[in-house]
Symmetry: D3
Subunit: 237 residues, 6 copies
């Protein structure tokens, strides 16, 4: 039934290449099928003004898409002179999601900026960005722990994200672009490795959904999240 | 337990003054307790380019906050030269939510822009904007039906929104600002008058939540949504 | 002769509701007929850099119009990415006018920002903004005097503004929109309660005017200004 | 009494060099003492959208200051990314003033853009811009009449502008920068060659003024305006 | 003598992976040592307005750098709201260079946009972008020729670019970042496969250079250009 | 053969009027035939952040064109809200060129900003800006040396720039606009008075050039540069 011939609860193949770029303190290229996102974590000395002398750390994220990551070329946001509402919404979500998994006292007064840049898009870029972003973050924090700058691990529980949706009337896991563009309901779940929820976003496109459908999507997300956690832990091992 | 001494499932007093401004085809001032939002619906001849000659209508929304709607004055977005990510995220949500309740074939090839401007903020402004925005939309569509420009009613099921959250460990309905700023989990539910879901957004702030808590919030939202629908129907009667 | 059937020297009904919003240190909703402007005064600790350590206070103003305050919807300035020349011109006038009535030594090194947002427009919004803005300022200063932060009253003489114009060949007081859009000459007078002049702006639209006409408009303005002063003093009593 | 030792009713030396640049249809460098403004008039085929097929012409103006026209260098507005409120206010005034002296039916459906760029500033730049701008406009219209594109002269009465002010308690004509920066009242009068008024702007800086002072300034302006008209007519003869 | 222990006339290892992304009509990841640039060519129906109905094609380029392509993170240009002068200068150079090698009549009235995004930077990014950009362009044109949309090959001579410089007093080929940041003279040569010059840019940094040095750099560039042409032809074979 | 009937190695008439504006520490109006550029040098106390407490000076440049400096009016960059890529490229070149001729230790920790504004354009504006900009810089530094703020002369060798090109198949010196718009190759040479090279930019427009042509242009540039140096030294004598 699915364009990709996957089972309704079957995720796309996940591949994670750590250290994809050399300057960043942590980096990976994450592939969820044909969706490819480069994630880098940059350690910065400064914290935002509201955290000066608080002893607390900060994790923030930025998101971008290369102009021809998509089927047809999109205008470059730097040339347009501003980030779209969609871009800002996504990078706020990534930052919030990653922060939920960070012990900011343990991190100490430093900032880590996670950049997620979509090299190739085929649906689910924000979820891939969160899942890969956590890996970049993990690698950067590992460096801080190795040098002794951070003693107690601030990342106790991995953070990953997965999309689900109602496609052709069926709840399915991990939408690709052909599904996403047709889905009546589109949902994103950000969860921790131990199964706790960080963020749930469910949105009907020109229709509505029932509480039963919401629960069916939640069930799928729990399955997907467990698989992503395993892939994350394998990648950073 | 709540700062306002409300019950955990008790909404703030709702008041809706229709026709608050005279130029708009539909308008109301909605008050959810101390949160006051002016909503106007403007009928416009043009539709976005991608709908030209499609026969389909469009509903879009914009959101703003007066600089001193808040406890301390915020910078005016027009002076800053751009809308914040938060503003864009909210107005995209309002537009998506209202469109979900519109039969765009019945509306015909015309656009209605719903402006939601926060006069005074005390938490839950996006929910008040959706609830009041639907009323402005309803009034504008009534005019179109009265003149015969629209024959079949494109608004079959009212749309409203309500926030819930985990405050002091308890699921509570309709957060005000003192609760919102302390809540560990913040959720917004957009629903129709007949109880269907349009959008669910649940977000942990520096923590996580369980599936049981998610269900408890959903229960509260169903109660609140029913009350809002009643208030909407009374206002436009 | 006038569309509203008013006498040539007759002002529209003035109504002033103080305390219209709760967060601002001073606020009012002023109505000049169908022109409704919300004015708030916000006390801020910082002064502009050029006044640091001068002991002098500062009063500044910002002006905005809700998108559907007008007959047809106007583009939101925050979405356009900048304030129009008209907006900047008006807010510079409001700030200059209010400052002219302030003893900045008595105010002390603090800033008060007066926001004037047009809820509904029917001509004369800049004048209503100045007249209402002074009330918001007065209320905010009252708070400072009550707490003893300011000892000597920095607002000795009320400031108000009124428009006049040549409509259908006749000098008339307080133009509404139908008159304003047809007037050959448009004038704004900012005056103090004791009858002194702060600002005079007279502008011919596609025509010219004589010194005699200038004097006739000045006579009307003196009458209108006295009535506005009375309304201001009643409102803040 | 004046820093320049001029009489209270004595204007600075006026010098006008026509044809200062070769590409513009009309141009001049106008000097009011040490204030030097380059004015060019550019004939353009397009009119603004609201005039399409109206048969009416349009005259508009833009104003700029070279970064080191002033005592200390000012930031270049193109580098700042926007025109200041002051710049916009001035260019709106120039455009409105010049249009008041144009028969737009006689001009026909074409646009003339008058650019006024301050090469060196010593007070009164907006007045010099209007006076010089009219000359550039006159020269451009002369070309149109020579080629027969325009038959009936659309410029029947010259337009010029002069500043006055209360300096050291005395009404004085044509403020230079040392006076302008100290003046308690600053006024600009735009008039036609036949003595009619187009625009009057009087503004108190941190003080007020009386109706008698207003009349004294008006008297000075009438004298100055007559002298400027004579200089304009001599320049374009 | 060189930090990389290369000979003065030795280029870094070149690696070219064609088809790196799937949506673009042509794409490659080009590596010049540790400098990695992703180049995509996008075929677009529209041409710029000045070419409408001319029968001529257009090739244009855009350039960007991922925020953490560099040693320390740089601000994202889309967040800054504009492209830096450096970015604009580089993308103008890339476009001009590629166009010099295109027969725009043979291409026909269509536009190809070449996007060059630096994934990892170690000096010479603009040269790598031109060299890789030509490959992406070649691949996209191949598609047009395969479908018969283009008959006569518009790309007759490959275009590549190489940097040279005076490092530690010696002319050297293909500067990497440690050399580039210390070089007294920095030069970029854009050449065709047949050895003709398209663009020469030589720039002294806080010093000067002689005509003899200019010639020595030109000799090195001819050697490097020949090697790049061979790599290009191998990649697209 | 040349539109101006000049010899292939004949420069346009050069005229330099020093002290063209009175506020700048150094200024001149330079005319290269019909290309007229006003150059001012402004002494500023602040240096860029990266030079704080370094003891080193800084010279930077900005470039602009009045809207009607050109055959047809161009949009004002301040109104467009940004400087074009061309403008930024040119002002970066001017700054780099002038800095190459400055001993920044001798200048001491101060900044000089050179503004080059094109009053009338007829080709070669960037070269005229560099040549005239050096004169403004020289005059400003003279003031610093007169007051003893600078002891050792930081400007040991004049800097000038000249364009050359291949016009109608012939190498020619100092292109004017009719030549520039037709030239197959366009080159700019920045040189010192003693004949050393600072910057070479050669660019083919839709064609290519040979190393022999490059050398022929270099020969012409050496002749032109010597003449410009003589004119500079005469002007500042």
């Amino acid at each position: 039934m699915r364009p990709s011939a996957r089972q309704t609860d079957e995720m796309r193949a996940v591949s994670i290449e750590v250290g994809f770029t050399k300057h960043a303190e942590g980096s990976c290229l994450i592939k969820m099928g044909e969706t490819h996102v480069l994630c880098t974590a940059s350690l910065e000395a400064r914290v935002p003004p509201f955290l000066k002398n608080s002893g607390l750390g900060w994790v923030t994220a930025e998101y971008g898409m290369l102009p021809r990551a998509t089927h047809t070329r999109m205008r470059r946001e730097s040339a347009a002179g501003k980030q779209s509402g969609r871009t800002q919404e996504i990078q706020r979500l990534i930052g919030r999601s990653l922060r939920a998994g960070v012990d900011r006292v343990a991190l100490g007064e430093r900032q880590i900026t996670v950049d997620c840049d979509v090299i190739q898009a085929d649906g689910g870029t924000r979820c891939a960005a969160i899942t890969g972003g956590w890996i970049a973050l993990r690698l950067a924090v590992n460096k801080l722990m190795k040098t002794g700058e951070v003693i107690s691990d601030p990342l106790l529980d991995p953070v990953s994200a997965i999309s689900c949706g109602i496609y052709a009337g069926q709840p399915v896991l991990d939408l690709d672009y052909p599904e996403d563009s047709e889905a009546g309901v589109d949902a994103n779940f950000v969860m921790t490795g131990s199964g706790k929820l960080i963020e749930v976003q469910m949105s009907a496109e020109g229709s509505t959904f029932s509480r039963e459908q919401m629960n069916a999507l939640m069930d799928l997300a729990e399955k997907g999240s467990a698989e992503l956690t395993a892939a994350q832990l394998a990648a950073v091992a």
